[in-house]
Amino acid sequence: MSSKFYDGQLGFLALVNAVVIVASLFLVGPKFVGLYSMQSMATQVSELGLLALGVMLAMAAGRGGIDLSGIALANLSGVIAFNLAPQFATATDAPMLYCWVFAAISIVVGILGGAINGTLVGYAGLTPIIATLGTQMLFTGVAVGLTGGSALRLGYIPPLDDFANLPVMGVPISFALFLGIAFALAIVLRYTKYGMRLFLLGSNDVAARYAGIPVRRMYFITYTIAGMLASVAGIIIAARTSSVKWDYGTSYVMVAILIAVMAGVRPEGGYGRVICVVISACALQLMSSLFNFMHLSNFFRDCAWGLLLLLFLAASKVDLSMYLRFRTPVRPGRA
């Protein structure tokens, strides 16, 4: 709970963003930083960012924490919401109500799915990799089973479509929601008992138990929140594509981990900052879009992502803050 807002990682990520934007001006021209282009990137970044936040939570909780089931749960929550929502409202008669019902069901599914992960990791004591690997297959499998493998169309539902794409005062609603959630999560992690205990737990789970932290409940809550974040991502994906399918964004598992590692979240647990994840997700989106603008092959992008992940792992071995710290307030004297 170090009270400093600015740290080396944050500065580094901001720098990466700035470099990409400046580079884009030279490489593809000002169109890249135009309003529409920015809005388009903002709508794309939300779902990835939410999944990355889930990965960050799981990693920060330690004990080899990782959440491989995020995107599977996002898709599953969309699929189940699609199947159940018509029981309560029809899209043609009451589109607004339908959307709320859809969102509510998704989130309930997300929370339930997350709770399954949380129970397995917290109460049953499974290694997070095994638990989330199993649930990833389970969630995916159920989504495939329920849909027979094909996409389910929502059709054009104006409120849902607006949610995914409509900018309010220049900011797409889905992006604003992402920022709102990130902000709330940041507050929770920084200024609540849960948040502070989470990072302590991640840095040493044995000591956490000895110190009287309810370790099992902490894991349960953490994975449940991750599940909920995934379901919000699921809603955004459903809104953006007007359909739900079991295999949307299969590449997101890796990209979410990449974002988290880039954001300085330690895979061993105990450290991670929401703002860094948000900025890191933005950096990744900027690069991804820049590659598209530059007509670079998408395979090259995969390759670049892999190398970038390795690069950031290497960078975390070198103390970057030394070079990036503009000024560190050294408080005089001692306690």
Binding site: K31, F32, G34, Y36, S37, S40, M41, T43, Q44, G148, G149, S150, A151, L152, R153, L154, G155, Y156, D161, A164, N165, I237, A239, R240, T241, S242, S243, K245, D247, Y248, G249, T250, S251, Y252, S288, S289, N292, F293, H295, S297, N298, F299, R301, D302
Partner: protein
Amino acid sequence: AADKEIVTVVKVTGENWFTRMEEGVDKYGADTDGITARQVGPAKADAAQQTAIIQDLIAQDVDAITIVPMDPSALEGVLRRAMKRGIVITTHEADNLQNTQVDMEAFDNHEFGAHFAEQIVECMGEKGQWTSFVGSLGSLTHVQWADGGEEYAAKFPGMELVSPKNESFNDANRAYEIAKEILRTYPDIKGFQGGSAIDVIGIGRAVEEAGLEDRTCVIGLGLPKDTGPYLETGAVDSIAFWDPLDAGYVMNILTKMTVMGEEIKDGMDLGVQGYNNVKVSAGPGEGIIVRGQAWVDVDAANYKEYPF
């Protein structure tokens, strides 16, 4: 004036089918003054990645986007926004898509399916068990072929359709595994109708391994070079396809006409074999559907004439 930029977005980059299509797109770009044409596509057949690419294209303010959708329903939203920004949208293999100005189909999909079934029925001697494959149930055209085939074969009481519309997910190995399963479950099966372009490869391999080349009839969409070895052994009896090169070329012709505001009329000749007398009908949305008669039948005798 600056060149108009038409970008073709395909399901996935790298597959032979779309590599051939890219040749058509490039050829059109080279043939036509005032147009730059290029093709892009995701690294993985993933609807989300395709959407992301289209979104970035919209941000780039290209003049027109022509799309072979991975999953048409996933694109409605993004395409509507593109059209709102004045970008011309045309599509291929998506005659159910609402937010498009022109959808180009190489032929009537039901007729194409019926054409397969016709050959199968004849080859099987009008009786026995048969089955059909699709890339995925989400691939509308594949489903239409399967339906078209089913309707045609229903006219023959001896024909028994078993386990219809198996999904291969555009994966030859998966098609192979399913074909083996089917052979085991229905030992007397005689006919296979392929869906995606690689289904026949998988089915052909399963048939060949079981030593059933002569007893079975395998017919479906396929590319000559890929399917060649199985056509030789008779494991695959015949394939049909439309030339993706021509399709890419024609898609761009139609797109350019739309960009220039030219009217596309029923019975027009687009100057490409198979598209000399296109049929125009209203689509499910505002747009129109343009159909050619561009399929090509290929068997062991003539597959070498097509170098792709």
